[in-house]
């Protein structure tokens, strides 16, 4: 009986050694990426109409098994930046089955109106509005990472993703916020601090703006005589 236990014990040690050494073995070598077959290896990055949208050829061709003809040239011309130049290169058009929306319809691939962050990179730099007053700051990271909000919490019901779109609206004023529009949807005093309190949390002023833009500390009509 003792013998069996001893053999079992030695066996267990040997087996675990084998397991460990197997894990140390170099992984199966990856198939080299062939740009002729799979398209450009580098990510495609669009900055129009919104900044920081990514597309990976590798993910769609090599990993998902699509052909070049799946998208070229019916959905996308092969010329770099061609789609960006089009007026209809928008989420709305994709929702109608154009561009990415041809597959990203919720059945073939995830719907274009879901999983925003799969393609859209959230801006790392602060959004700075200079209209109607100079200057108001918004940090995506504070709201998404620290507060745990989703893109859908604000986009596109409260803010469209287009840079500077809110500034163009006549109602992008504090009074609208008090009525629950824009930031006021959450900044109402219960979900987040009320928008008629702590003004300088978002309003960085002309001085803060100059600092952000790396301008001299004392601009015209400055604080020094």
């Amino acid at each position: 009986m003792k013998k069996i236990v001893a053999i079992g014990f030695v066996g267990a040690i040997l087996f675990s050694y084998l397991l460990i050494s197997a894990a140390d073995q170099p992984a199966v070598e990856q198939e080299p990426y062939d740009e002729d077959a799979y398209g450009p290896e580098a990510l495609i990055i669009w900055n129009e109409p919104v900044k920081g949208v990514f597309f990976s050829h590798q993910l769609h061709t090599m990993e998902m098994g699509l052909d070049c003809e799946s998208c070229h040239d019916d959905l996308f011309e092969m010329e770099a930046g061609a789609a960006e130049g089009q007026d209809d290169f928008t989420m709305a058009a994709m929702g109608d089955g154009m561009y990415c929306g041809a597959c990203h319809d919720g059945s073939m691939a995830f719907d274009v109106n879901s999983q925003c962050a799969s393609c859209h990179q959230q801006p790392e730099d602060a959004i700075v509005w200079t209209k109607p007053v100079k200057a108001v700051i918004f940090e995506h990271t504070t709201h998404s990472e620290d507060m745990g909000l989703d893109c859908e919490s604000c986009h596109d019901d409260l803010f469209t993703m287009q840079a500077g779109a809110a500034e163009q609206a006549d109602d992008f004023v504090m009074a609208s916020l008090y009525d629950g529009l824009y930031c006021g949807a959450c900044h109402d005093g219960s979900t987040a601090f009320a928008s008629d309190t702590r003004c300088t949390t978002c309003h960085i002023g002309v001085r803060g703006y100059a600092r952000l833009m790396g301008e001299a500390e004392t601009p015209a009509h400055g604080a020094g005589h």
Partner: protein
């Protein structure tokens, strides 16, 4: 000399003086020092009255009519500087100077965060203006009716003593007029022409700057400064200039 009698004479050394005598002597010395130091650096006069009164004058004790006053609701200021833009336009302020400006302060608040406080600054139209006292040519004085500290450019010799005397850094030398320029609550450009508010007040989108007659109990400035429980402060009260620009977070 009768050496032996000397030992019996009364000593003239200070240890034999009565302490009342010594105290009187020291008091004279301190009083003289106090006078020479101008009474503000080391004052032997009581400051109890000054502290008890606070920065806001007691109702009814306003020397001017209208007693022009500005109340700055500091917590609302967002440094958009529309006030500065309006002032520059209205009063032809050159780029190297200002009649009003915004200062910035940062302080630590709970949660390891920082809070920014913007502080609008302008001429405080002091009741005891140090700038007026030092002007050698009476180019600047306190208007007897409105209490506004005004300038007469033709009398200014550009010595800039007033700029050094001002506790609020509210004066600058205008190269074009060759005279010191300052905020006059837009008296020349607006109030004397029938307008009721200075340009900066009109331009402020956040209702930070409130202007009016402190002698009028129905005016907003009077009400802001006499709201129960509100805290009102002035800048650099220790100078004794008795400013007419007040700050509050009400």
């Amino acid at each position: 000399m009768k050496i032996n009698e000397l030992a019996n004479l009364k000593a003239e050394s200070p240890d034999t003086l009565p302490s009342a005598e010594r105290r009187n002597f020291l008091k004279i010395g301190l009083a003289v020092t106090g006078v020479y130091l101008g009474g503000t650096v080391l004052s032997l006069t009581s400051v109890v009255d000054a502290l008890a009164e606070g920065p806001v004058p007691t109702a009814g004790k306003y020397p001017y009519s209208p007693h022009y006053t500005m109340v700055l609701r500091e917590h609302l200021c967002i440094d958009c500087e529309l006030c500065k833009e309006a002032c520059v336009k209205t009063n032809n302020v050159p780029s190297y100077g200002y009649r009003t400006t915004i200062l910035e302060r940062r302080r630590d608040i709970v949660g390891g965060e920082k809070e920014t406080i913007f502080m609008p600054v302008l001429c405080n139209q002091c009741n005891r203006p140090p700038c007026v006292r030092v002007c050698p040519t009476t180019a600047t004085w306190k208007d007897e009716k409105t209490g506004i500290v005004v300038m007469k450019n033709s009398r200014c010799i550009g010595c800039k003593t007033c700029m050094a005397a001002c506790p609020y850094n509210a004066r600058y030398f205008n190269e074009e007029t060759r005279a010191v320029d300052k905020c006059d609550f837009c008296w020349e450009s607006r109030l004397s022409k029938g307008e009721t508010n200075p340009a900066c007040v009109e331009a402020c989108p956040a209702d930070v700057r409130v202007f009016g007659d402190l002698a009028d109990h129905n005016s907003r400035v009077f009400q802001l400064l006499h709201t129960p429980g509100s805290i009102v402060w002035v800048l650099r009260p220790e100078t004794g200039a008795i400013p007419n620009v007040f700050y509050t977070n009400a």
